[in-house]
């Protein structure tokens, strides 16, 4: 069966004088029907840009240079604008980190959701209001009749994110790309929104590409995890195996940073150093400068991705399997 989303060899760079300023550097990833895949990494690892590139929403400063992105078998990179617009919202939809700013402040919730339906001919002016209420009920918006007529400023962050989800799902896409959908919400609301996304996945059968840096959320909701570092995927595998026995030292480092991992010393653990900036990516393995098990080999040769069991990783000195 063709995957819903298949990215292979994707590279994107910052426009400018430096031709090596890659923010995404040879990324490959697949998402199958109905699957929840988490793309995890620190800030600046390129995970959000990966999410944006799927619908070709990259900001003008970033340019896709190589690779292929297939949505339901169609190549998004080569697609002409007209066709791309048809695909946006129908094959894949995206929701963003900041529900406070991602809705137009001057339009009612109803109009913004209806706009999605009308653009893709999924409703007429007469049927749209009714369908909007259905969608708001689907995302469990309290008092949908009233909320539909309101402007975004009258809604809390959690409710706005629900409205965003309702809009994203209006044309029943096969995959929902969720770019840190709960980061800006407070903790109790985070739980509700994540649960809602999972329920909707079960109900509608769509896949979810979840961009996050929160491994706690990943453990709860994802089927599969891809760990991203400096524009590349360094480890990938089913959620249980990957979180219990990470092979890549970076994944292990991220897990050790969780507050739950605090040992007897009572001190929080961190990965020393910062991720490299685009344009100043080191030779060899890009994690080597921060890696506890790095050797001279790591600073010279870029590790190939290899698969052992259910996990794939790119490391010369992987940690022991479980």
């Amino acid at each position: 069966m063709t995957p819903v989303l298949s990215i292979s060899g994707l590279r994107a760079r910052l426009r400018g004088p430096d031709p090596s300023a890659f923010v995404i550097d040879g990324l490959s990833l697949q998402v199958n029907r109905g699957e929840v895949v988490a793309l995890v990494g620190e800030s600046g690892s390129g995970k959000t840009m990966t999410a944006y590139s799927v619908l070709r929403l990259l900001p003008p400063a970033i340019q896709l240079t190589e690779g292929e992105i297939r949505l339901g078998g169609q190549d998004v990179v080569a697609m002409e604008t007209r066709r791309l617009r048809d695909v946006r919202g129908t094959l894949a939809s995206i929701i963003f980190q900041e529900p406070m700013t991602s809705l137009n402040p001057l339009m009612t919730i109803e109009r913004q959701i209806a706009e999605m339906l009308l653009t893709h001919g999924k409703a007429t002016r007469q049927t749209a209001p009714e369908r909007v209420i259905e969608l708001l009920e689907l995302v469990r918006m309290p008092d949908p009749q009233t909320r539909a007529k309101q402007y975004p400023h009258s809604l809390s962050g959690g409710l706005r994110q629900r409205a965003m989800i309702a809009m994203a799902l209006a044309c029943e896409p096969q995959i929902l790309i969720a770019d840190e959908p709960t980061t800006a919400l407070d903790v109790t609301i985070q739980q509700q929104v994540m649960k809602l996304l999972l329920d909707l996945r079960d109900q509608l059968g769509m896949a979810i590409l979840l961009i996050t840096h929160d491994l706690g959320v990943v453990a709860e909701v994802a089927d599969r995890v891809a760990v991203m570092y400096a524009g590349r995927i360094v480890e990938e595998g089913p959620v249980v195996e990957l979180l219990e026995a990470p092979r890549h030292p970076y994944t292990a480092g991220l897990l050790a940073c969780l507050p739950e991992g605090v040992g007897d010393t009572g001190r929080l653990i961190e990965i020393p150093g910062l991720p490299p900036k685009p344009g100043s990516i080191p030779e060899g393995c890009r994690f080597a400068p921060r890696c506890p098990s790095a050797t001279e080999l790591c600073t010279r040769v870029t590790p190939e991705t290899r698969t052992e069991g259910v996990q794939a990783f790119a490391c010369h000195h992987p940690r022991m399997p479980a």
């Binding site: 791309l84 617009r85 695909v87 700013t101 653009t119």
Partner: protein, 329 residues
């Protein structure tokens, strides 16, 4: 009636009441300043008569109340103002109110056409420049706006008369209607419109340049906001995004600017109406100043302050209608 409409009416009424003390304050300042200038109506009348005896001067002053102490003149003026009596123009031998009402129409027509022209051109060119940012249409529009901004309006007016009236003969050079033609109905409207083109364009030129640059900057700023990416992710065309999502948000500073610039436009109309012999308030003001027609001048200033106050209320209403986040407080 909906709650919104009720709120709106209550808001406008409240603002009108609040503006009464402002208007009285302005009237006071006007009166003081105008009386600071040397000379009075009697001097001018006597001067024009060629010669006048001191007795005649005294009689004139007594007749017009100019012999009274300053504070008495002031109280009399304010008292009349409260009953909407703006006094009598000695130069035109007609009540000031009548003169003002006769010229208010042409000026309002000229100003509203100029503002409408400036806003529509501002939006059209500003959006175009923002959508072609750093490409040749943007450069062309931005440089054009800069030139329009820097050109003195009276010079532009004269040059347009030279080109379009004298050389090409396309447009009438002055006035509001063809004298003696006696048109009625649609022909009259067409005739006025033809006379309106040049003065309105020149009057609106400065504001247009302002609006173009404002809309361009504002479009570019709003264009980077998250909800624009949302709109793009919905599969909307760039055209729809620009006009439906970005422009509505970008237009708010323009509304503010129009409110602030109405005073300047009113000032500009003095110049434009004189250049194009447009029978409006501006030309009346010009005459009033040079003929020491103090009553008329005070009336004009008072009317202008009312116009500015009213425009500011309208600006606030427009703001509220565009942006639901702004409460009518």
């Amino acid at each position: 009636m909906s709650r919104n409409a009720q709120d709106l009416i209550r808001f406008v009424l409240r603002r009108l009441i609040q503006s009464l003390p402002i208007l009285l304050g302005i009237a006071t300042i006007n009166f003081l300043f105008v009386n600071l200038a040397p000379g009075d109506a009697a001097d001018v009348l006597a001067g024009e008569a060629g010669a006048a005896s001191p007795e005649f001067m005294a009689a004139l002053r007594e007749r017009y109340g100019l012999d009274q102490p300053f504070y008495v003149q002031f109280l009399v003026y304010m008292g009349k103002l409260l009953t909407f009596d703006l006094g009598y123009s000695f130069r035109f031998s007609r009540p000031v109110t009548e003169l003002l009402l006769g010229t208010l129409g042409p000026t309002l027509l000229l100003m509203s056409t100029a503002i409408l022209f400036a806003c529509s051109m501002g939006v059209f060119l500003g959006v175009l420049a923002a959508r072609c940012v750093n490409r040749w249409p943007d450069y062309l529009i931005s440089v054009g706006a800069l030139i329009a901004y820097a050109t003195p309006v009276f010079w532009l007016g004269l040059m347009m008369i030279v080109l379009f009236s004298v050389k090409l003969g396309w447009l009438p050079s002055s006035g509001m209607q063809t004298i003696g033609a006696g048109y009625t109905g649609w022909r009259k409207i067409g005739d006025v419109a033809l006379h309106l083109i040049m003065p309105a364009t020149v009057l609106g030129m400065y504001l247009t340049a302002f609006q173009v640059r404002l809309i361009r900057a504002s479009m570019l700023e709003i264009g980077e906001q998250d909800f624009v990416t949302t709109a793009r992710s919905k599969g909307l065309s760039e055209q729809t995004i620009a006009y439906r999502h970005v422009l509505r948000n970008a237009i708010l500073p323009m509304v503010t600017m129009v409110g602030l610039q109405v005073g300047a436009i009113l000032g500009g109309s003095v110049l434009i109406e004189t250049v194009f012999a447009w029978p409006g308030l501006g030309r009346l003001a010009y005459n009033a100043v040079f003929q020491r027609d103090l009553n008329l001048l005070l009336g004009l200033l008072f009317l202008c302050s009312i116009m500015v106050v009213v425009t500011n209320i309208l600006t606030e209403v427009a703001y509220r209608l565009i942006d639901p986040r702004i409460p009518l407080k």
